[in-house]
C-alpha cells in the first residue's frame, strides 16, 4: 500500500462513527489489531505499538489491507 493510501485508510477507519476496531493485515498475513492511536506514519515508515508494548516498524508496502473486526472474524 502506498503511504498516502495507507494514511487515508487509517484516517477513515479511525474516524468511523460509531468507532469499530479494525485490523491492519500485512502481506505476510499477520493481523495487527488497531485503534486510532496505535499506528503512526512518518517519513515513509509505519510505527506500531502492540498491547504488550512491543514496537514494530515497517514499510507501508507491507500492508495488504484494513478490515473491520467483525468482517475479519467472519473471514478465514
Amino acid at each position: 500500500m502506498r503511504e498516502d493510501v495507507l494514511a487515508d485508510a487509517l484516517y477513515a477507519y479511525s474516524h468511523q462513527t460509531p468507532f469499530r476496531p479494525f485490523t491492519v493485515e500485512l502481506v505476510n498475513r499477520v493481523r495487527l489489531v488497531a485503534h486510532p492511536e496505535v499506528f503512526r506514519i512518518e517519513s515513509g515508515v509505519v510505527g506500531y505499538i502492540a498491547p504488550n508494548g512491543t514496537v514494530r516498524m515497517f514499510d507501508p508496502s507491507a500492508v495488504a489491507r484494513l478490515v473491520s473486526v467483525a468482517l475479519a472474524a467472519d473471514e478465514p
Binding site: 506514519i41 512518518e42 505499538i49 498491547p51 504488550n52
Partner: protein, 158 residues
Amino acid sequence: MTAAEFHTAVRGLLNERTFQPFVLELAGGELIHIEAADELVIDPPRFIVRKQTDPSGNGTLDPRPVERVTMLDRLAPRAGELAYSEFRGRLGQLLRAEPFVPFVVGLKDGTELTVDRANRLASNGRHAVLFTRGQPFVVFNNSEVAHITANGEVLCHA
C-alpha cells in the same frame, strides 16, 4: 481463587471479540498484566501465562494466589503511580486536540519526552512509544510517568 473460580473469571474476558486488558492481582500485591488474549492460555487443568515482553514470568499459573481479576481501566493506582485511566484519557485528549498543542511526558528517571506532533506518539493500553526522527524510539508505560505537562502547566502527575 480456586481453579474453577479463576476459570469462570477469565474465560469470558479471553473470548471477548474486542479484548480488553485485565490484571491478576496476587496476594502480596504482585500484578500480572494480561494485555492480549493469547497471553493467558487455558489448557485444563492448567493456566499458562505466555508473555513476549517478560518471558521471566512465563509458565503455569497457580490460580490460588490470585485474589482478584480486575479490568485494567478499573485498577486502583498504586502509590506514586499515574492511574491508567488518567494516562489513557489525558494522552487521548492531547493527541486528538485541534489545534495540536505540544506537550512533555516526564518520566520518573528524569527523562523528558517532548511530543511536538501528534503523529510522533503511538499508544496502546498502558504502553506508549515516542518516535523521533533520527533518534531511537522510547517506549514507556503509565507506571513510569511522573507528569504530563503542556504550556508549562502540569496536567497530571504520579
